[in-house]
């Protein structure tokens, strides 16, 4: 994967597949501590301690279409190869929290990439899942909460062109105001 945002897209997909009704994604870039923390938290079906252990093994998957499961191992390797860390906390029936911490200044850290499109894709293509997205850049931040959108919109689908465009604008304008267009 060439971008961290693609890892986020991939791993958050697991949350929706786990039947989560709410997925919270936090991106926190803090240049003072030189850390980029990514937390994907869901209230899906969760995993047993044994499954948690297996999930970072590339040769384990719960799928039947193929024999490998590379999403989580990719994310783990990406974080750990920068001197960062990777943890999964999970409980059956409660949910799963995946935390990846990257060292921002490390030469092997891949760029965050197009995180707006990742969040937009998740929101638009999972109409039955709510997402809370928190983006923090040093001491500034903004939040997107699809529950608020839903309250305004009633049964108007997120995928309708006007709403889809609004959500993309919401992400790009607020991100720009938060990080001033920083590329990292």
């Amino acid at each position: 994967m060439p971008e961290i945002s693609l890892n986020v897209l991939d791993v958050a997909e697991n949350s929706t597949r786990a039947g989560a009704s709410l997925v919270t994604i936090t991106i926190d870039a803090d240049f003072t501590s030189d850390r980029l923390s990514i937390v994907i938290d869901d209230n899906g079906c969760g995993m047993t301690p044994q499954q948690v252990e297996q999930v970072t093994d590339p040769f384990f998957t719960s799928r039947t279409t193929r024999k490998v499961g590379l999403g989580v191992p990719f994310f783990k390797l990406a974080a750990e190869s920068t001197g960062g860390s990777f943890t999964i906390r999970s409980e059956p029936g409660v949910g799963t929290t995946v935390t990846a911490v990257f060292v921002l200044s490390h030469i092997d850290r891949m760029p965050l990439g197009d995180i707006n499109t990742t969040i937009h894709t998740l929101v638009i293509y999972h109409p039955d899942t709510d997402f809370v997205y928190r983006y923090r850049y040093n001491d500034r931040s903004f939040t997107l909460d699809t529950r608020e959108f839903r309250q305004v919109l009633g049964d108007i689908p997120f995928a309708s062109p006007e709403i889809s465009a609004y959500i993309m604008d919401y992400l790009s304008e607020n991100k720009l105001e938060t990080d001033g267009g920083a590329q990292y």
Partner: protein, 125 residues
């Protein structure tokens, strides 16, 4: 900061329009594989391109673009499947945003399958 007020204004505008289309059986479904294999090989820009074009050209009442997981043909990702009512499914492989645009124009609008991009045209080993 962009606010919810703008969203309310959009809602007001939309509610005055004719009600939304229902997904009927005349709908063409375009499905993009978005598992690890798809994403790693470039499915996200393909999905974004397709859904963008479908909206731009006002085709949303005829074509719905959705995503799916891995169908087990990881080496051929990004994969786009086209399901037209009453016709056999067409599987396009190794897609790019440019190829996707071509498929939209020649197949989804023009009605002719772009044979050279399909799985059946691939040299299967």
């Amino acid at each position: 900061m962009k606010t919810l007020e703008e969203l309310k204004a959009i809602r007001e505008r939309m509610q005055s329009q004719v009600s939304m289309r229902a997904e009927d059986h005349n709908h063409t479904r375009v499905v993009v594989g978005m598992a690890t294999c798809g994403i790693a090989s470039g499915a996200r820009p393909v999905l974004t391109k397709l859904s963008g074009l479908v909206q731009e050209r006002n085709l949303t009442d005829k074509i719905s673009v959705t995503q799916t997981g891995c169908i087990g043909l990881c080496q051929y990702e990004p994969i786009v499947e086209v399901m037209e009512p009453g016709k056999p499914k067409v599987t396009y492989i190794k897609m790019t945003p440019d190829k996707a645009e071509e498929v939209l124009e020649r197949h989804l609008i023009g009605g002719h399958v772009v044979e050279e991009y399909t799985l059946s045209a691939a040299d299967i080993k």
